[in-house]
């Protein structure tokens, strides 16, 4: 069998609790340990996690700028601009990714912890405060308050000075 021209791209999908993380780790180990006696040449394989909403997430720059024979030699964190905002991303060394997926059969693997963290952040997210009544008026509207029992023109500068 001639050596492959490129690596294979294999995806494991499934519902929650279908055992994806466990099987990904096992498959990576199995591919790497495969020998020619099994009819398959040794292949370098990495595990890649595609979370929907939680870091770490692989990004373009470290992959493209790293030497092909020794990719992912460091753990990096950087930010990425997306059409919906600017987010921080942490890139872990692939070995650490593999180790994490290897431990993924534990009840508290990182995937689930990240999911809980996102939920917690959502619940704690600050909602915009409603501005005081004076700010809610159109500029120039006559307003009256207890502090100033006479008509004043609604004006942000005036309100800030008060």
């Amino acid at each position: 069998m001639s050596p492959p021209a490129r690596g294979a791209f294999i995806v494991i999908e499934g519902l929650d609790r279908s055992g994806k993380s466990t099987q990904v780790a096992r498959l990576v180990d199995r591919i790497q340990s495969a020998t020619t006696t099994a009819g398959v040449p040794p292949v370098k394989a990495v595990a890649l996690k595609f979370p929907g909403e939680s870091p770490p997430f692989p990004a373009t720059t470290p992959f493209l700028t790293t030497d092909a024979d020794a990719p992912f030699t460091t753990t990096r964190s950087f930010s990425l601009s997306t059409p919906t905002g600017h987010i921080a991303i942490a890139i872990a060394h692939p070995n650490s990714v593999a180790r994490r997926t290897t431990r993924a059969c534990r009840p508290n693997d990182s995937d689930r912890k990240d999911d809980r963290r996102v939920s917690a952040l959502r619940s704690r997210a600050r909602r915009p405060r409603r501005p005081p009544p004076l700010f809610r008026q159109q500029m120039g509207t006559r307003v009256r308050s207890l502090l100033f029992p006479f008509d004043v023109r609604a004006d942000w500068r005036f309100a800030l000075a008060v």
Partner: protein
């Protein structure tokens, strides 16, 4: 830290496609734990009342690097419910999982049986690993063709 919404993951995956191709070109096999299909399934199951139709969710994923093989670990939601820790995640509800499963089935039909293999994940985990391996071995030795694109050039794509 910004909490991402339903749209961002689709955009992020697009950012990653050159990275995947670079790694593949270097001769490294990539095993991905979820891919674009999960994004489509979990977003589309929310329904059209959120303007997250199947077609909308699929649109940003068209043209991404297509996996040589996708292994769908199929397990009935009622069986998954019996596994430890079920219910801890926000989507781990039987009705949600059932809808997600239906979307996955639709995706599998579009991808085609040659690249989408359904594995019975209700079996013993060693048996599941063996079934996966049986499907993966032919793929490892047949990566001489360039990486193709998801849903690109498919006629009759709705």
């Amino acid at each position: 830290m910004r909490v991402l919404g339903d749209v961002s993951p689709h955009c992020l995956r697009s950012c990653c496609s050159p990275a995947i191709e670079a790694v593949l070109a270097a001769g490294t096999t990539v095993v991905a734990d979820r891919y674009a299909f999960s994004g489509i399934a979990f977003s589309a199951q929310k329904g059209s009342h959120l303007n997250l139709t199947y077609e909308w969710c699929r649109a940003p994923e068209i043209g991404l690097p297509a996996p040589d093989l996708t292994l769908f670990l199929d397990v009935k939601p009622e069986i998954a419910m019996q596994r430890g820790g079920y219910g801890e995640e926000r989507y781990e509800k039987q009705e949600v999982q059932s809808r997600v499963r239906q979307v996955f089935q639709r995706i599998g039909e579009e991808i085609g049986a040659d690249r989408w293999v359904v594995i019975d994940a209700g079996q013993d985990r060693n048996q599941v690993a063996d079934d996966i391996w049986d499907s993966v071995v032919p793929v490892l030795g047949s990566t001489h063709k360039p990486v193709t694109r998801l849903w690109q050039g498919q006629e009759g794509l709705k």
